[in-house]
């Protein structure tokens, strides 16, 4: 990445030059970027083509340059920061852009979500040759994709709706129903999807296309949100000329993505590491761990990459953790402790994350075999992923 930065200093149009002659897909959104990028990379590579990607999570132009430099791969899948999408789209003239979702995240250093959606809209209006794959269930994404010439709408679901109530078109109120959403004041409404994520009563998921195709979504990765990511990637693969059903089958081989859901050892304690960066992500993961009674460590930092203001902890429904053995840790464990206190969640505090994991393990009912669940925000997750065993 340092090389990418230096290269861009020498040649500000380096990303444009490196993109020439390649078929590039950009993946952006608030949550799911890294995983969807990985799933799409695997899907596009299933035919034997070389596919390059910025797998380190460095999702701004220096990371894109670093990924593309020194490879002849004709296909590239680039995770792209949502603020940077317009300029990366201009530089790469990407063939495909995947728009996942938009919700509040690091408000002290990024823009309001409506401003981001507006910047996508302007950028895609100026890119008539780009295929857009967009989540039809997120009104802000639909606004962002809205005037693009070729949009593949995907009903990929939207659990967190708290940022989507104000209509981005007219300022009216968006009403959600079983069948979709629409603005009460103007004609802005959910577009008809060409593919839909369907969940059976037994919890299994499958993809259904309006043209009649259907396929099961069977991932090694946990969580409904990853099934949504897989469907988005499958439609993007389809738009890139790869059969969507073969793409979904190829994604089954992905075991972990950049450490998310990795089980690692700290001494004789094993911990499953999970990453949630913002209220929408926490809402998903608290739902995922709800079925377990494993001890839980929650780790919160407020460094530059996390955002300096942890007020968002109060938007997270931590009340769901009532009755669990919870240990609060990370640089900002005190903010978390106050939040849990008012949420009625009994907990202990331990500033050191590794010690917090060890402490939590002692609360496990089933002894040494238990795996401690750990959810951290961005740098808190990486601290534990990289901590010495």
């Amino acid at each position: 990445m340092a090389g990418g930065r230096a290269g861009l200093r020498l040649d500000p149009r380096l990303l444009e030059h490196l993109s020439a002659g390649r078929q590039i897909a950009l993946v952006t959104g608030t949550n799911g970027k890294t995983t969807t990028t990985r799933l799409l990379t695997v899907a596009l590579g299933a035919t034997g083509d070389a596919v390059v990607s910025n797998e380190t999570g460095s999702n701004m132009p220096p990371g894109h340059v670093a990924a593309l430099a020194g490879t002849e791969a004709r296909r590239a899948v680039l995770e792209t920061d949502e603020i940077y999408l317009p300029r990366v789209l201009t530089a790469t003239t990407a063939a495909t852009v995947v728009l996942l979702n938009l919700s509040r995240d690091q408000l002290d250093r990024t823009n309001e979500v409506r401003m981001i959606a507006g910047s996508w809209r302007a950028a895609l209006a100026a890119a008539p040759h780009t295929h857009v794959v967009a989540n039809a269930d997120d009104p802000l994404v639909v606004w962002g994709a809205g005037v693009a010439r070729d949009v593949h709408w995907v009903a990929a679901g939207l659990r967190w709706r708290h940022d989507a109530v104000g209509c981005p078109s007219c300022g009216g109120r968006i009403a959600f129903s079983e069948s979709g959403w629409s603005c009460a004041a103007c004609d802005f409404a959910r577009p008809e999807p060409e593919a839909t994520l369907v969940v059976a009563p037994d919890g299994t998921a499958r993809a259904e296309w309006a043209d009649g195709r259907t396929a099961p979504i069977r991932l090694a990765l946990p969580g409904r949100f990853n099934e949504s990511n897989a469907l988005m990637a499958a439609v993007a693969a389809d738009a890139s000329g790869i059969d969507a059903l073969e793409a979904l089958a190829a994604m089954e081989s992905v075991q972990e993505v950049a450490g998310r859901f990795t089980v690692r050892a700290f001494g004789d304690v094993r911990a499953r590491l999970m990453l949630a960066k913002n209220p929408a992500g926490w809402d998903e993961l608290l739902d995922l761990v709800a079925g377990s009674d494993a001890p839980l460590v929650v780790s919160i930092n407020a460094r530059i990459a996390d955002g300096a203001d942890p007020s968002w902890l109060w938007d997270v429904p931590f009340e769901r953790l009532g009755g669990r053995a919870v240990v609060a840790t990370g640089d900002r464990y005190r903010d978390l402790s106050v939040r849990l206190h008012y949420g009625g969640v009994e907990h202990s505090t331990e500033p050191d994350p590794v010690r917090a994991v060890r402490r939590a393990a002692t609360a496990a009912s089933s002894g040494a075999a238990a795996v401690v669940d750990v959810i951290g925000n961005y740098t808190a997750f990486h601290d534990l992923l990289g901590a010495p065993a």
């Binding site: 408000l107 708290h162 940022d163 109530v165 104000g166 402790s337 106050v338 008012y342």
Partner: protein, 247 residues
């Protein structure tokens, strides 16, 4: 008190962006822990605003903020309840819309509820983002410990003469006008730019609002050890910085 204390979080769908809904939770728990019965209402913008004794308004994005102001003016309940003595805590965008005028994303000036005699404009300076410490004016709310919070706004709010400030910033920007003030207080309405949420970080302020809403009862002390640890940390981390000024 025979009827429950009613606390309403106003329009969380429009003014819920910055975690300020936590203020309602803090107020409700602190009353319940002292034995009061509480009804905590989440009041969405597509329903009439419910009758309540204490209203909390939070921060929101520019577009939804304009909609919230228009809807509250049309609804009429908040202004009526204030005239009847209800308590209001209004934060950030909420602070601006209980004032007289505020700026919209379009650059135009919008009408607020006019419950606080303040006017907000968009200054030519960058957004005020960062930790804030405020020394409260003891003549306004009585003696309170230093307030801690986090600000994130692009407004400059001036008070009409005679409207008290909540206090003076010792770190951070606050109202963003030249007098170093933060927030405003008029009757039982407190406006501020502090997130955190402000009542989570400053339980004494929460108790002051509860005292008003509970007809000036004396509240029993609570064990605030979690919050004391957080306050010490925040005051230490920010205390070294002098007051930031917009340039």
């Amino acid at each position: 008190m025979t009827t429950p204390l009613r606390i309403a979080v106003v329009y969380p769908d429009l003014l819920g962006t910055y975690g300020d809904g936590g203020n309602g939770l803090v107020l409700a728990r602190r009353a319940e822990w002292r034995g009061y019965e509480v009804t905590l209402l989440q009041a969405p913008s597509d329903h009439p605003l419910p009758e309540a004794d204490l209203y909390c308004l939070g921060g929101g994005e520019d577009g939804p903020q304009v909609r919230a102001a228009r809807t509250l003016i049309d609804d009429g309940t908040l202004a009526r309840r204030v005239a009847e003595g209800a308590v209001v805590l209004a934060v950030c965008a909420g602070f601006q819309i209980v004032g007289r005028t505020f700026p919209g994303a379009d650059g135009g000036t919008h009408e607020g509820l006019g419950l606080l005699a303040v006017d907000t404009v968009k200054p030519a300076t960058p957004r005020a983002v960062g930790e804030v410490l405020v020394e409260v004016d003891p003549d306004v709310l009585g003696p309170l410990p230093t307030l801690s919070g986090f600000e994130n706004h692009g407004g400059a709010t001036s008070r009409v003469e005679g409207t008290a400030a909540l206090g003076q910033v010792v770190a951070g920007v606050g109202n963003g006008v030249d007098d170093g003030s933060e927030g405003a207080v008029q009757g039982r309405i407190v406006g501020t730019y502090l997130h955190g949420p402000v009542l989570a970080r400053n339980p004494v302020l929460a108790d002051r609002l509860l005292t008003w809403a509970l007809d000036d009862v004396a509240l029993a002390p609570l064990d605030d050890s979690e919050v004391e640890g957080l306050r010490e940390e925040r005051l230490l981390s920010v205390g070294g910085n002098r007051r930031r000024r917009r340039r």
